[in-house]
Assembly symmetry: C2
Homo-oligomer: 478 residues x 2
């Protein structure tokens, strides 16, 4: 690996190229040999580990239990829920032979595991006392997509998929919403990404779900990114898989299901919500390296080496720290820290060594401050981390709100969509109308927000004038 | 799920049936729909999570970096290292089509990822400054085995696989041994399982390795279980994949590789090293539930309910605790806690409520002790956990040493193998002789131990009298 800093296409010049440059030059991935796959290198996998660890802790507080189901789905099983299988059919990677010999039945690599969980639930559920079952798995899944993009759309990706069954619809619906809120809060508190929460239109909902709820995040180019979904499955799967239980009156009923998930595309969201022309900016809570300590000409000054070592030792007790004690120049070291998105770097040169101080540089604002190296340093850094997190969140929040607009008519709509805005408008909900909008403008219905993010007057569909109370956000999306 | 305790076949009567009963009645698994697969239910997956968390922490102390590689291996890539592919060929699940359409190249579900990592290393390594690369991934792999057994041998299993490349052979060899020691220490400190460390005979080594090191554990029926392996790959893969680097003299050299792994069969090891006729016994450090609090007739005595709730609240701050506040009888509750292997249960009945005390029952010895419910309870419990861990380890250690024997001749050998002993004997190392021993006795060469566990006099091969300094442990194995 050559150790020079590669140039990044400016974000404003070409967002897609900027993204790919950041992904590649930030050492996040390498392309896999199987079409549309990526190798998660230590930095991107480290982000995913921090996402997993913290989100899983939230799940456990809610009583979610982790399990692991097999990778392959037998052909006979996948056909049980028709809408579901139709939604995935063209994307299914299929195992047909073992050791060169054909199998008697085909197996599909899971695109999602609803059918496996529900087939299992059938034998676990006997009485209402057994319910609810609130399970989750962290796993790899595969969808052979035509167009792929690192993190955003890959033929294989990592995710968590929650699957639950309940004795009544109200409880299942409530859990669907609880998980969505958990995702929204997680993105805010850990990834510094604001989202709009809402319900998918019928055209955009998950194959096999009764309703799909979503959190939608805005990237720096204005595009929407579906960052997490939670599905109320009603009895669609429990009827297909014959999951019944005896209720308190000893009568058999079908159970009610949910499923919900977030994926490694969150890494893509994080890059496109915060990154800049210098590269990645990783929020401190999920940064695999939180502090880069840079020796400035340490090979020429033993006092620098000593202080750097001491600072590393001290801070490692509280933070994830990396020391760059190579003989490379300060410009290279700074750029190297910046491209990898480390929240702060600490520069230690002869001046700092003389004064027993450290110079802290924030990745988000590039502000520099020199402070004494005392026991208090950790509190100073904690405060800066909080500031960075809030600054990233607030900037993303303002950008989002500034880019959500209403529109008067379809011409106005198209223009705003082309400008990279999200358009909140009254919409009748007709599926053909929605398809027409997508074909003519490239925008899709992102969600029916729970709460309108901006004020809207109209009560009739912008497209065809039909009376409606439904306000929908449209946008171009990843 | 019916809530009665199922009967377990006594261990001494039929060990295989005992094992399957414990696995099933302990709610560890359900069988998957794909042949030879299992569903990891919350209890077994919880054990795996604790193994993963703690072992991963040990890896990180050693500077190991986690990554994630794609699931599928293209046909063109797998054929690059001949010994390797021959070792796995008959077991490879093969993807030949997507969405009903044939693919132009076949893809294999990874049985292990040496070829993927080494193909990647080729592009990452340029100079000796880039080395070593010490990577690990936690992943699912697939080997279509003919005979399967929950945890011990399943067509899909979970594992970690470490893959490294180094600038010199000495460093690579050293890392191979360091990882083996890390495994041995982990099994001792977390799973309370003693092991013999050693080297595999050429016949038993990993396909593609130069040397394979192993930790071998003894199960309660005397069978050996290979619990972890570490392979020194020398330049076998780096030559096949053309992984070269410029050394300090600016000359190109091939790098040196290692790989090492442990799998979900550790869960099987834990069951068969510690379990008894009442069911599982899970060592406290990896038990998903460390304490079962049982209300004894709590529905008839509010004071019992109150105390149980209070104890749960207090202990939850320090331990993984579950409260059984159902109206089931004390006999059921105790048996239910025992079958699931919870290290201790705390019984709270009217007596305890009256005296503000709790009765603690150890799962391993079934000893009961009643102690006051004070702030000191957590220290009492910590002490008991340490005792349980040490007791389990010492019992397993004594059993292991008592069951390793020497032999005078092949007749004696066969008899001892049939009695379920491990036989340490001088062995010439001839591969045909080793095959002959397996065919005639069912025993395989487990390892050439680093240190003989028992004293041995002979210096000539027991089978054919050839002079040799090599002592080998033979045993029947899983």
């Amino acid at each position: 690996m050559s150790k020079k800093i590669e140039k990044i296409t400016p974000l404003a010049e070409d967002f897609s190229r900027w993204y790919l440059d950041v992904v590649k030059n930030g050492d996040l991935i390498s392309y896999g040999k199987t079409r549309g796959t990526i190798v998660f290198k230590p930095l991107s996998f480290g982000i995913w580990e921090n996402i997993q660890k913290n989100l899983d802790a939230e799940f456990k507080k809610l009583g979610v239990q982790n399990v692991y189901f097999p990778l392959l789905i037998p052909e006979s099983l996948i056909n049980k829920e028709k809408d579901h299988v139709n939604g995935f059919n063209p994307e299914l990677a299929t195992v047909t032979e073992v050791g060169g010999k054909p199998l008697s039945e085909k197996y599909y690599i899971r695109p999602t595991s609803e059918v496996l969980f529900n087939d299992f639930f059938k034998n676990e559920v006997e009485s209402y006392n057994d319910l609810p079952l609130v399970y989750n798995q962290w796993a790899n899944v595969m969808r052979w997509e035509k167009t792929t993009n690192p993190f955003l759309r890959t033929t294989e990706f990592l995710w968590q998929e929650g699957h639950t069954v309940h004795a009544d619809a109200v409880e299942a619906r409530k859990l669907t919403r609880t998980m969505l809120k958990t995702y929204a809060k997680f993105l805010k508190n850990y990834l510094a990404i604001p989202v709009i929460q809402g319900k998918k239109t019928p055209r955009e909902k998950f194959s096999g779900a009764c309703s799909t709820y979503t959190i939608e995040a805005m990237m720096k180019n204005g595009r929407a990114l579906q960052a997490g979904t939670s599905h109320y499955l009603a009895q669609n799967f429990t009827k297909a898989f014959d999951i019944t239980f005896k209720n308190a009156e000893n009568k058999r009923e079908f159970a009610y299901g949910t499923s919900w998930g977030v994926t490694t595309r969150l890494i893509g969201a994080l890059i496109m919500a915060h990154g800049d022309d210098r590269g990645l900016i990783i929020p401190p809570k999920v940064a695999p390296v939180q502090i880069d300590i840079l020796e400035i000409f340490g090979h020429k000054d033993p006092a620098v080496k000593n202080l750097a070592k001491q600072v590393k030792k001290d801070l490692s007790k509280f933070f994830r720290v990396k020391l760059d004690d190579s003989s490379k120049g300060p410009g290279f070291k700074a750029a190297n820290s910046e491209i990898h998105g480390t929240p702060i770097r600490i520069e230690i040169g002869s001046n700092e060594a003389m004064n027993n101080s450290v110079t802290i540089v924030r990745r988000d604002t590039l502000e520099k401050v020199t402070v004494p190296f005392t026991k208090d340093l950790k509190s100073v850094i904690r405060k800066i981390f909080t500031d960075i997190h809030n600054n990233l969140y607030n900037a993303a929040y303002d950008r989002m709100l500034n880019n959500i607009v209403t529109c008067d008519n379809m011409e106005d709509f198209k223009q705003k969509i082309d400008e990279g805005k999200w358009v909140l408008m009254s919409f009748c909900g007709d599926e053909d109308a929605e398809a027409f909008i997508q074909e003519t403008t490239g925008a899709t219905a992102r969600c029916i927000p729970f709460k309108d993010p901006i004020h809207i007057e109209s009560t009739s569909c912008v497209l065809n004038g039909k009376k409606t109370k439904r306000n929908v956000i449209f946008a171009k999306a990843y």
